[in-house]
C-alpha cells in the first residue's frame, strides 16, 4: 500500500483541506511544524517520555481468559487503552499535539469534545504544559457528561457551552472552528480524532499508531505472530486507525471498524457514517457523512456520546472504499449488553464507545476457530457512563 495521504492530504478521493482561507496559513504552518517534528529525534524522545512516564504506556495487551471461554471461539486479547492516564486513548493524541503546540510557541489551546474524554485529555495536557485552555462542548453533552465537565474545570480549563444546532459534538466542533478562525494566530486547535482538515487526520493517526505498534510487538512476543482479526469502535476513528495502522500492509490481518447503529440502521437515529452515509464534506475533509439529499448534515445519535458524530475520518472512508477494512455496526442495546458482559466476566468496565467493539466480538468470536486470535481495542473505561447506564435501567 502506498503511503497516504498525498501532499494535499488526500486519501484517494477522501480527506483534503476544505477550510476557510483564514485557517489555511495555520494549517500549512502546522503541517510544516509537524513535518519538522517528525524528522526530529528530540521530538520522538520527548513524546516517548511523556507517553511512558506520564500516560503510563505501554498499555497491557491482556488475554481475556473468561471472555474467551464464555464465547468459546477465538482467543481474545484486549488492548487496554482504558489504563491510560485520563482513561482513554485520547491522551496519546493530545500529548503529541500539545508538544507540537509548545514547539510552535503557542500558549493557548482549544478543543471540541463530545463525551468529554478528549476535553479532559486536552485540559490535562494544557495543565501539564501550562497552557491556557478552552473546551467547546454542546450543552446537551454538558448535561449528559457532567463528571467530565467537572474534571475539565478542576484541571483549570474553561468549558464553553455550545447552544447551536443540537448542542452536541458536531456543533461543538463547528464552534471550535469558528473560535479558531478568530484566534488562529496564537491558538493551537487540538482536534480529537482522525478528522478535520489535513494534516490533522494524518497527524492524529500517527500519534495514535502507537496502539497498533504495541499490539504487534506484544502479540508477537506472546504468540509469535500477528492477530487474525483487529476490532475497534469508530467514532471519528482515532482509536480504530491507531489500532489498524501498523497492520495496514499485512494483508492476512482482517480489520473491523464498529460503528454505532444507535436505535437501528433502518432508523435515522444512528451514527454509522460509513454504513449509513454518503460522501460529502464536513469539518475540513471529504468523507462519508450522514446527510440528507441536499447535502445538509444530519444529526447523529448514539448512546455513546463519543461515537455521536455524523462523519468519520477520511482514511477510514478510504479503507472502506478500498475494502482494506470492513465496517459494521452494532446497536445501543447490543452495546449495553456488551458493557455488562465485560464488566461481569472480566472486571473491566468498558466505555460505552468501546462496548461497541466488544459487542461485535461477541458476534464473531464464537464463529471463529479456537486457534484464531482476535484483538479488541478497549479504547476507554466506562466510569463516565454510569449515568447513561442508570437511565437505560440495564441493571
Amino acid at each position: 500500500m502506498k503511503t497516504l495521504p498525498d501532499e494535499n492530504g488526500h486519501f484517494g478521493i477522501f480527506g483534503g483541506r476544505y477550510a476557510a482561507e483564514t485557517l489555511m496559513t495555520a494549517l500549512l504552518e502546522l503541517e510544516e511544524a509537524y513535518g519538522k517534528a517528525q524528522n526530529d529525534k528530540s521530538f520522538a524522545r520527548e513524546f516517548d517520555w511523556y507517553r511512558r512516564e506520564y500516560a503510563g504506556r505501554p498499555t497491557p495487551l491482556y488475554f481475556a481468559r473468561r471472555m474467551t471461554k464464555a464465547l468459546a471461539g477465538a482467543k481474545i486479547y484486549l488492548k487496554r487503552e482504558d489504563l491510560n492516564h485520563t482513561g482513554s486513548h485520547k491522551i496519546n493524541n493530545t500529548l503529541g499535539q500539545a508538544l507540537l503546540a509548545r514547539r510552535m510557541g503557542k500558549k493557548k489551546v482549544i478543543a471540541e469534545t463530545g463525551a468529554g474524554q478528549h476535553g479532559v485529555a486536552t485540559a490535562t495536557v494544557a495543565a501539564l504544559f501550562g497552557m491556557e485552555c478552552k473546551i467547546f462542548m454542546g450543552e446537551e453533552d454538558i448535561r449528559r457528561q457532567a463528571p467530565n465537565v467537572f474534571r475539565m474545570k478542576i484541571l483549570g480549563a474553561e468549558v464553553v457551552p455550545v447552544k447551536s444546532g443540537t448542542a452536541t459534538l458536531k456543533d461543538a466542533m463547528n464552534e471550535a472552528m469558528r473560535y479558531w478562525v478568530g484566534s488562529v494566530r496564537d491558538t493551537f486547535y487540538i482536534i480529537g480524532t482522525t478528522a478535520g482538515p489535513h494534516p490533522y487526520p494524518m497527524m492524529v493517526r500517527n500519534f495514535q499508531s502507537v496502539i497498533g505498534k504495541e499490539i504487534k510487538k506484544q502479540l508477537n512476543k506472546m504468540e509469535g505472530r500477528n492477530p487474525d482479526v483487529l476490532l475497534a469502535c469508530v467514532g471519528g476513528g482515532s482509536n480504530a486507525m491507531g489500532t489498524f495502522y501498523a497492520f495496514r500492509n499485512e494483508r492476512e490481518v482482517a480489520m473491523f471498524g464498529v460503528e454505532a447503529a444507535g436505535r437501528g440502521l433502518n432508523t435515522t437515529e444512528h451514527s454509522a457514517s460509513i454504513n449509513g452515509g454518503t460522501v460529502g464534506i464536513l469539518h475540513g475533509n471529504k468523507t462519508y457523512l450522514l446527510q440528507d439529499k441536499h447535502g445538509q448534515v444530519r444529526d447523529a445519535y448514539s448512546i455513546a456520546a463519543g461515537l455521536d458524530y455524523p462523519g468519520v475520518g477520511p482514511e477510514h472512508a478510504y479503507f472502506a472504499a478500498t475494502k482494506r477494512a470492513t465496517y459494521v455496526a452494532v446497536t445501543d442495546a447490543e452495546a449495553v449488553e456488551a458493557f455488562s458482559f465485560l464488566s461481569r466476566r472480566e472486571g473491566i468496565i468498558p466505555a460505552l464507545e468501546s462496548a461497541h467493539a466488544i459487542a461485535y466480538a461477541m458476534k464473531i468470536a464464537p464463529q471463529m476457530k479456537k486457534n484464531k486470535i482476535l484483538v479488541i481495542c478497549l479504547s476507554g473505561r466506562g466510569d463516565k457512563d454510569a449515568q447513561t447506564i442508570i437511565e437505560t435501567n440495564a441493571l
Binding site: 496559513t25 463547528n174 469558528r178 478568530g182 464534506i281 475540513g284 471529504k286 441536499h294 445538509q296 448534515v297
Partner: protein, 271 residues
C-alpha cells in the same frame, strides 16, 4: 466579461465604490428574499451575495448561523436558490454571487451545479471552504461555463500564498477584514489599509472588503481603502429583527440606501 466585472468597471469609471450586500436565501422565506432583493436593488446595491444555507456554517458568526438554520427549517435548498435567481433574472440584471459551503454543491453535483447556476443567471460563486488547494474540483466546471470563482484573502494569508491566489482570481478579490467568523468583530482600519495595499501591489483586479462592517460610517471609511465593501451580518440581523414588520422591505432599503449614499459621496473626496 460578466455582469460582476462590468459593474466594477462602470462604477470604477465613475470613481464610485461598489456596495455588495449579503443575505441568506430563505430567511425568512424565499418569497420574502425575492422581495428583499428587489428592494435592495432599488436602494442602490451593486452586487448581491446570496447565501445558500448550510447546516454547519463554520465560518459564520451567530447572526448568519441563525439565519441559515431558519432558512433550512423553511425547506430552502440549493435548487430553490437557483430557481430564485432564475426568477429574479426575469426582471433584473443585478450581478448575483452565490455564497456558501461546498457540501450542498458537491451533493448537487459539481458539473450539474455549474451548468444550472449559469443557466439560472448566477454570475459567480464564493465557496468558503474551498481554498485554492481544493478549488479545482469545482472550478473546472465553473470556469467552463464562465462563472466567476471569487477568492478570499484573509489577514492571515501569507505572501506566497497571496500571489497564487491573486494569480488565479476571477471577478474580484474578497478581503476578509477581521480574523474571525462573519460579524464577530469590528474591523481595524489600519490593518485593512496595510493589507489592501499589499494586495493592490499584486493586481489591478477589484478588491472588496467584508466581514464585520455594520454602519455607514464604517462603510465609508473602509470603502475609501478599496473598491467596494460587503455588508452581511448587519443586514441579516436587521431582517431578523423586523421579520414580522410590514415595513421590512422599507427598513432594509432605507438602511442600504444610507450606506450607498455614504459610498457615493466618496467620489467627491480626494483619495
Amino acid at each position: 466579461m460578466g455582469r460582476i466585472g462590468e459593474r466594477f468597471e462602470s462604477l470604477g469609471a465613475k470613481n464610485e465604490k461598489t456596495l455588495i450586500v449579503y443575505l441568506t436565501a430563505g430567511d425568512p422565506s424565499l418569497t420574502v428574499t425575492k422581495e428583499l432583493i428587489f428592494g435592495l436593488e432599488k436602494a442602490g446595491v451593486d452586487i448581491l451575495e446570496i447565501g445558500v444555507p448550510f447546516s454547519d456554517p463554520t465560518a459564520d458568526g451567530p447572526v448568519i448561523q441563525a439565519a441559515s438554520q431558519r432558512a433550512l427549517k423553511t425547506g430552502t435548498t440549493l435548487q430553490g436558490v437557483l430557481d430564485l435567481v432564475a426568477d429574479i433574472r426575469q426582471s433584473s440584471q443585478i450581478p448575483i454571487l452565490l455564497f456558501g459551503y461546498f457540501n450542498p454543491i458537491f451533493t448537487y453535483g459539481v458539473g450539474k451545479f455549474a451548468k444550472a447556476a449559469q443557466k439560472a443567471g448566477v454570475d459567480g460563486v464564493l465557496v468558503v471552504d474551498l481554498p485554492q488547494e481544493e478549488a479545482q474540483e469545482l472550478r473546472i466546471h465553473t470556469d467552463a461555463v464562465g462563472l466567476d470563482f471569487i477568492s478570499l484573502v484573509a489577514p492571515t494569508t501569507g505572501k506566497i500564498r497571496l500571489k497564487n491566489i491573486v494569480r488565479n482570481a476571477t471577478g474580484f478579490l474578497y478581503y476578509i477584514s477581521i480574523t474571525g467568523a462573519t460579524g464577530t468583530a469590528a474591523p481595524k482600519i489600519d490593518d485593512i489599509a496595510r493589507d489592501v495595499s499589499k494586495i493592490r501591489k499584486l493586481t489591478k483586479m477589484p478588491i472588496v472588503v467584508g466581514f464585520g462592517i455594520s454602519n455607514a460610517a464604517q462603510a465609508k471609511e473602509i470603502a475609501a481603502l478599496a473598491d467596494g465593501i460587503v455588508i452581511g451580518s448587519a443586514i441579516v440581523k436587521l431582517i431578523d429583527e423586523n421579520r414580522n414588520s410590514s415595513e421590512l422591505i422599507n427598513i432594509i432599503s432605507d438602511y442600504t440606501r444610507e450606506i450607498k449614499e455614504a459610498l457615493a459621496l466618496q467620489r467627491y473626496i480626494v483619495k
